[in-house]
């Protein structure tokens, strides 16, 4: 299966390598680097590259390439999924996944990789199991470690891998027992020039943070489960019960995890919380253009829209811009031609507006397509699909847990064509 893993930074330096079978020479990465040179953006590097003796499967994430070397037939998704798990694991352990973090914790990352695969086949990918074997670093612990010479490697014998519920470790104890659920919904939409919806859908995810002692058995039910069209679950959820009764019944992992993701029934019309009035025009004769964008609230269900941000990839031929924003501030990177307008909270009384002139490079033809606008926004305390958690029950333990549910709506891939 997976033969080797290389971590490569955007400039092409291989700063970590791990082999699970015989050592594969670094030179195999040359094929990849070649493909990387060819691609305009790092995102455009093909995920699967075919070389004479190996197959290279890579992901690009958090400004890092995770490149795995394969020698025989294996489902590519298997590898891709695993690579993402590696990235998530690094994120989970060290708070972020970046080159510096990996370099700082080289040995620990290496040890983790050693535990995650055996002979190229995933062995322990559950964060709960891994954390039992190799404890994540904390400031306190690193102080203690230097003083006492103890280590981060768990010295107790772990049982997680042996249990029938590998995602939960035994003997969890908390003084405050709490279970929090975040229902996060993202609106994916494409609006056309006139503001009509070309395509819109809602994707949701229930993130959980469960800190409960012992072996709690939770049941979460929704007021309106019929809204949910397609779901996928954390392995802890009992699928049959969902099928028959539309409740989520599960023994939760300890800590943070994604309980489920869902897609809202396509028949329901998606409420679009904001509208965007825009005009971007270039004059036929001169090397000049105008930009005028206004954002306003539309269907917000009485909530305030926050964190509004408009991102525009301006055409390459733009020389400079001169804009004024009535609210918030904008930044413009002349290298990448990226215009970001950070609006913040949307005030229905006074609509934010950004207008001004664009100047083109001398002699450059008028761009024939206007750039599309990517919108970012956030609405607290609202699940735009109307999904509501009904109740959470706990069985199996005697104490009374604190329970909480939070709803957030965000913009996913929200695009306005111009």
């Amino acid at each position: 299966m997976i033969n080797s893993l290389f971590l490569i930074n955007p400039s092409g330096e291989m700063f970590l390598e791990k082999h699970w079978k015989s050592v594969v020479s670094r030179s195999v990465c040359d094929y990849f680097l070649e493909a990387k040179e060819k691609a305009l953006e790092p995102e455009d590097v093909p995920p699967v590259i075919h070389t004479p003796h190996h197959y290279l499967i890579s992901i690009y994430r958090d400004k890092l390439f995770f490149l795995s070397v394969i020698q025989t037939e294996v489902p590519p998704l298997f590898v891709i999924e695993f690579l993402h798990r590696v990235a998530e694991m690094i994120q989970d352990y060290f708070g972020e996944c970046s080159e510096t973090v990996v370099k700082d914790h080289m040995v620990m990352v290496y040890e983790l990789l050693e535990e995650m695969l055996d002979n190229g086949f995933p062995l322990a990918t559950e964060s709960n199991v891994l954390k039992e074997m190799i404890r994540p670093p904390t400031i306190l612990r690193s102080v203690v470690n230097t003083l006492t010479g103890t280590s981060n490697v768990g010295d107790t014998l772990l049982t997680g891998q042996l249990s029938t519920i590998p995602w939960r470790r035994a003997g969890v104890r908390y003084t405050n027992n709490e279970a929090y659920f975040d229902v996060v919904e993202e609106i994916d939409a494409i609006l056309d020039q006139s503001g009509t919806t070309v395509f819109a859908e809602i994707q949701g995810v229930v993130e959980a943070c469960v800190k409960l002692s012992g072996m709690p058995d939770l049941t979460l039910s929704f007021m309106n489960p019929r809204l949910l069209d397609d779901v996928s679950f954390h392995p802890c959820v009992r699928y049959k019960l969902w099928e028959s009764e539309r409740v989520l019944s599960f023994i939760p992992p300890d800590g943070n995890f994604t309980l489920m993701t869902y897609h809202v029934n396509a028949q329901n019309l998606v409420a679009i919380p904001v509208y965007v009035k825009q005009s971007i025009s270039f004059f036929e004769c001169g090397s000049d253009g105008r930009l005028d964008v206004t954002v306003g609230p539309k269907q917000t269900m009485g909530k305030t829209v926050e964190g509004v941000m408009v991102t525009v990839h301006l055409p390459k031929t733009i020389l400079s811009i001169n804009l004024t924003a009535t609210q918030g501030s904008y930044t413009y990177d002349n290298g990448t031609k990226l215009l970001v307008w950070d609006i913040g909270k949307l005030n229905p009384q006074k609509l934010p507006n950004l207008r001004g002139s664009l100047s083109l490079q001398a002699g450059a033809p008028k761009p024939e397509e206007n750039p599309s606008l990517n919108i970012d926004l956030k609405i607290q305390q609202l699940a735009i699909s109307g999904l509501k958690v009904n109740r959470l029950d706990m069985f199996g333990e005697k104490y009374k847990p604190f329970k909480g549910v939070k709803y957030i709506t965000k913009a996913g891939k929200f695009q306005v064509r111009t």
């Binding site: 299966m1 970590l16 390598e17 079978k21 015989s22 050592v23 691609a39 455009d44 995920p47 699967v48 075919h50 197959y55 690009y60 994430r61 020698q71 037939e73 489902p75 590519p76 998704l77 298997f78 891709i80 999924e81 993402h84 080289m106 290496y110 050693e114 055996d118 002979n119 086949f121 010479g149 280590s151 490697v153 010295d155 014998l157 891998q161 042996l162 029938t164 519920i165 056309d192 070309v198 395509f199 859908e201 994707q203 072996m215 058995d217 397609d230 392995p235 009992r238 699928y239 049959k240 099928e243 028959s244 993701t261 055409p315 024939e368 397509e369 750039p371 599309s372 069985f395 199996g396």
Partner: protein, 1032 residues
């Protein structure tokens, strides 16, 4: 015996080999050390602060650093050593060479510090291959660890041992693998499955022996092992389909509970398996179709039945089992699992069922970019064959400006495949946006897509053509060029009406610089020169002027155009043509020279070649077939979906072809599990008492004395519930296989599921039975007695009966049993009866259920003959080998004894206040559990303290998941002040974790919990001191 001897010989050989190796290694170490120091001296003058790519530099640097590290490693301080090892591993991680430290590192292999040890292991695995002799020094440590009482230590020792790629230790590895394969801990067995692959890649000659181990591990019932062993199977002997037969149903049933990576592997293996074993569910006439079928097959069961009536084809129940058990996995969070289920449905399911995977695949498009890429590729292949599947989700394939280039083109591809008369206008409108994209590569791709739509859907051909002509005035070069090429293709399809477009293009010719486009226009001119008689010679004139500066591809077309014009209009173009041919004659490119020479001979009449030039007109101006614009994914369906080969569109090494459906289904009965696998006798027990009781096939001694009296005791106290026990035994069997899968945990309650699961469990009942056997050996105590008595019953008294029943019903087809499952109800007697009749179809099942029944009827129990088990699937040699294992000689002396003392104390299960008048108390009768050997029996007394009767008392939801409880039969009514005693069996999985479940009445349910004291989980045995030592 032979085998035994053979094996010990092998062992001593191995030991000998290692000994010599070790000696030589030690010598080598000495010599190596001196060499090293010389080298060091030699290199010390080098002072480099960082290791460059240059070989000598690296070495110099390493040596210098290594000097420090070596000192640290050889110090007495743990912390220094640890620090040094961390730096060494840091070097390895960065890809630097640290192999020179090998001798210093390997000394620490036996360190007490776990982290240090782990780091040493990491180092060893990395460098053992390069320093084979030195690596041998560490082997004995691992061999010792392989015998460690702690399963995790055993596992990690095996893991590292097998990762050391040193050929000389192959025999040791082989031995360790075999031993680990029968380890009591499933985790160790899992590790051994991994080790199989490693050994195989090290030494292919071990194949036969390894296959035997795989065969054994395949029979393992643990979900931990399943994925890994199937992986080993795929790697070592993917063609030995025959090993799967007996385990097919078990694998299907375990699938939900296997860890996600294992699921992927198992599903892909089962896909291949199914294609060789079942007949095609696809109708011969592809039209027979989705609509009316879907309506009438509501449930799976019905479907099979209806189909029987309607068509000769009937789906094999095992085929159905696979489809049904994989379906829930579509909801997995692991994208690889979802994809593998999708491909399974695509390759195995009846056409009308395939579409259930659509939604899940579309869901994956929300995932990471790389996942999208793979999924889109697969959808592209699928959508060519089955437009209908993805058409409702068309909008999910709309392109965003932020998508990566390869994602964009795949989406375009899919949109094109999905286009039909109904949605073409929407798609074209969408394409219009794309054509304007800033990403010109993508815009060009869109134009091609428009071309494909135009050819596929004749209604829009003209619209598209007009649109493309408009694009000719686009400012971007690539767009124009692409349009020209596509227009050329379209015109070729219907050339008659479009001379004005050709004229238009001729006018544009001067502005177009992309060679392909220029070539296309020239070709059009030549091909249709009769339609544009005035323009064509003029174009040729221009081209003659610029011939030398054109690209090769354009030059070829100029020559072509000249030739065609010469043939049709020689008056005007004769000179021009000759001029061009002369230019071509001296061109640098040999293709062009060749072409020129050929054309000249063909068209210019002279003496020698008169024969061909007569036909020149017909040769050059023959009507040409229009190009077919089709998807690049058209022929990808020759590869199994979801595979690497499919992605790269070439056969990857190790790709296993998916065979075609067999015309006639191979024997179905091979999947019936008839034999009680001897494995279970071998699998030593797990858990607290594990070490003291490695079970072996020594039943004869086992039960002779103490078993007897325990049985008696059980009779006494158990008789009250014997009726219940027997009638519900069938359901217990069912849950036997199901209970492990938590998703099905309440299948017996929910009627909706019950008919589904009944047929399934029927099939799997055989498994669950043998599973029991397996578990029995795994679990401590109590139960030990029960199973063998069952065996006796069957072999002694019921044996004949059972066999008779078998033969008489052997003719019953499996179709019967399948449809039976419909009528499967919850009524006890009915179920039981049905169960038996059905099970007759499968000999194995029959035997089993007989056993369950006879268990309670028989008064006397004699030991089962051991020989019966020996005549089994395991090859004699392996049996022999196994016999040689050290564990086996001890086990024969283990004797079960009855409990010395049974406490009267009972514990409160449910107080009458909390239970609204229902009170319950439990106690451990310390008897073997009747229902399943792994269960502990618990006696519960229920009392009604209210003044009204309580109805329908039963056990409801339980936790944790996978908790296996054998419930008592629902008590229909409990009168006021009355009390009743019932027995339940609980599988505590050898843990002291409380079993939580709900005690339900008609109106209420109360959560209760039973926490066993550790002593209640154990089974008393008698053994001599000598044996005790041995086992220890």
């Amino acid at each position: 015996m032979n085998g035994h001897r053979g094996f010990s010989v092998l062992r001593s050989e191995a030991a000998g080999a290692v000994r010599t190796a070790l000696v030589s290694a030690e010598n080598l170490q000495l010599t190596l050390k001196t060499e090293l120091s010389q080298e060091e001296q030699h290199l010390t003058p080098h002072t480099h602060t960082n290791g460059g790519p240059d070989e000598t530099h690296t070495k110099g640097y390493c040596t210098e650093v290594n000097e420090d590290l070596k000192e640290m490693l050889e110090s007495n301080k743990e912390s220094l050593k640890l620090e040094a090892m961390k730096r060494v591993v840091g070097l390895i991680a960065k890809g630097k060479n640290a192999s020179e430290l090998f001798p210093a590192v390997v000394k620490n292999v036996a360190s007490k510090n776990i982290e240090l040890k782990k780091l040493v292991y990491v180092y060893l695995v990395r460098y053992a291959e390069e320093q084979q002799d030195l690596a041998l020094l560490s082997i004995s440590t691992f061999q010792r660890a392989l015998k460690d009482p702690n399963q995790l230590i055993r596992a990690s020792a095996l893991r590292v041992l097998s990762s050391i790629r040193v050929p000389i230790i192959v025999p040791i590895m082989m031995l360790a693998i075999k031993e680990a394969a029968s380890d009591m801990s499933p985790y160790v067995r899992k590790t051994s499955a991994h080790a199989i692959q490693k050994l195989y890649s090290l030494d292919q000659d071990q194949k036969e022996l390894l296959i035997e181990v795989i065969e054994k591990l395949l029979k393992d019932k643990s979900t931990l092992v399943a994925g890994s062993v199937v992986m080993a199977f795929e790697e070592v002997c993917p063609d030995r389909i025959d090993l799967i037969h007996k385990n097919y149903r078990k694998l299907c049933n375990l699938l939900v509970d296997v860890e996600e990576w294992g699921q992927v592997v198992i599903i892909s293996m089962l896909t291949r398996y199914a294609r060789t074993q079942f007949t095609s569910p696809w109708k011969e006439d592809g039209v027979f179709d989705e609509h009316n079928e879907r309506a009438f097959y509501e449930s799976d069961e019905e479907k099979t039945r209806d189909e029987t009536e309607a068509k000769p084809y009937m789906m094999d129940p095992d085929h159905r089992l696979l489809l049904r058990n994989t379906k829930p996995l579509l909801q997995s969070r692991n994208t690889a699992v979802v994809m593998s289920v999708a491909q399974l449905y695509w390759h195995l399911a009846p056409k009308n069922e395939v579409s259930i995977v659509t939604k899940s695949l579309v869901r994956l498009l929300r995932s990471h970019r790389e996942v999208q890429y793979i999924v889109l590729q697969n959808i592209a292949t699928m959508s060519i064959q089955r437009k209908g599947m993805f058409e409702p989700y068309m909008k999910s394939f709309y392109v965003r400006s932020t998508d990566a280039t390869h994602i964009k083109s795949l989406k375009l591809e899919i949109l094109t495949s999905l286009a039909n008369e109904a949605n073409i206008s929407t798609i074209l409108r969408e394409f219009q946006t794309y054509v304007k994209s800033q990403d010109k590569q993508f815009a060009a791709g869109t134009i091609q897509a428009i071309g494909r739509c135009a050819t596929n859907i004749s209604e829009v051909t003209d619209t598209c053509l007009n649109g493309l002509v408009l694009l000719l005035s686009n400012r971007d070069e690539t767009v124009v060029a692409e349009s020209v090429v596509v227009i050329r293709k379209l015109l070729q399809i219907q050339p008659t009406q479009h001379s004005d477009i050709i004229k238009h293009m001729a006018k544009l010719f001067d502005n177009i610089t992309v060679p392909m486009a220029r070539a296309s226009i020239l070709w059009l001119m030549g091909e249709y020169c009769e339609r544009v008689p005035k323009i064509a010679p003029d174009v040729l004139r221009k081209m003659a002027k610029s011939f030398t500066s054109e690209e090769d591809i354009v030059k070829l077309q100029i020559v072509n155009l000249a030739a065609k014009l010469y043939l049709t209009n020689s008056k005007q173009t004769k000179l021009l043509t000759q001029y061009i041919l002369n230019l071509g004659k001296y061109d640098q490119n040999y293709d062009i020279r060749d072409r020129t020479r050929f054309i000249r001979q063909l068209i210019v009449p002279n003496d020698k070649n008169g024969a061909l030039s007569k036909y020149a007109h017909r040769i050059l101006l023959a009507p040409k077939p229009a190009p077919v614009l089709e998807s690049a994914y058209k022929d990808r369906d020759r590869y199994q979906l979801g595979t690497l080969s499919h992605t790269i569109n070439t056969k990857a090494s190790g790709y296993l072809e998916l065979s075609d459906w067999p015309a006639v289904a191979p024997d179905q009965s091979v999947r019936n599990v008839e034999v009680i696998e001897p494995v279970k006798e071998w699998a030593p027990s797990l858990g607290k008492t594990g070490k003291s009781k490695p079970a072996k096939s020594s039943d004869d001694k086992f039960y002779s004395d103490s078993g007897e009296e325990e049985e008696e005791e059980e009779k006494g106290s158990g008789s009250s519930s014997s009726e219940d026990g027997s009638s519900s035994s069938s359901s217990s069997e069912e849950s036997g296989s199901d209970a492990e899968s938590h998703v099905q945990k309440n299948s017996s309650q929910s009627s909706e599921e019950s008919d589904k699961s009944s047929s399934q469990s029927e099939k799997s009942s055989s498994e669950s039975d043998s599973e029991k056997k397996e578990r029995k050996t795994k679990t401590p105590l109590q139960k030990k007695t029960v199973k063998p008595t069952a065996k006796d019953g069957d072999s002694d008294e019921n044996g004949n009966v059972a066999k008779e029943a078998n033969s008489s019903s052997a003719g019953e087809s499996s179709s019967d049993s399948e449809s039976d499952s419909d009528t499967h109800t919850d009524s006890d007697s009915g179920t039981e009866h049905k169960k038996k009749t059905k099970s007759k179809a499968k000999p194995k099942v029959e035997v089993k259920s007989k056993k369950e029944v006879s268990l309670l009827d028989l008064g006397d129990f004699t030991p089962a003959p051991v020989t019966q088990h020996k005549s089994s699937v395991l090859s004699p040699s392996l049996l022999g080998d196994l016999e040689g294992l050290s564990l086996s000689n001890v086990s024969s002396t283990i004797q079960l004894s009855g409990p010395a003392f049974v406490p009267e104390k009972s514990h409160d299960l449910l107080h009458r206040m909390t239970g609204k008048g229902l009170s319950a108390q439990y106690q451990f009768p310390r008897q073997p559990c009747l229902y399943q050997p792994t269960m502990v029996s618990v006696q519960i007394s229920l009392t009604n303290t209210t003044d009204h009767p309580l109805e329908q008392i039963h056990i409801g939801d339980r936790s944790p998941t996978g908790l296996n409880i054998h419930c008592f039969n629902t008590i229909e009514c409990l009168e006021p002040e009355a009390s009743v005693t019932v027995f339940i069996g609980i599988d505590f999985n050898d843990s002291t974790q409380a079993a939580n479940f709900q005690l339900c009445t008609k109106e209420d349910h109360f959560s209760v919990s039973i926490q066993p004291a550790i002593g209640e989980l154990l089974l008393p045995i008698t053994m001599t001191e000598l044996d005790f030592r041995k086992v220890r």
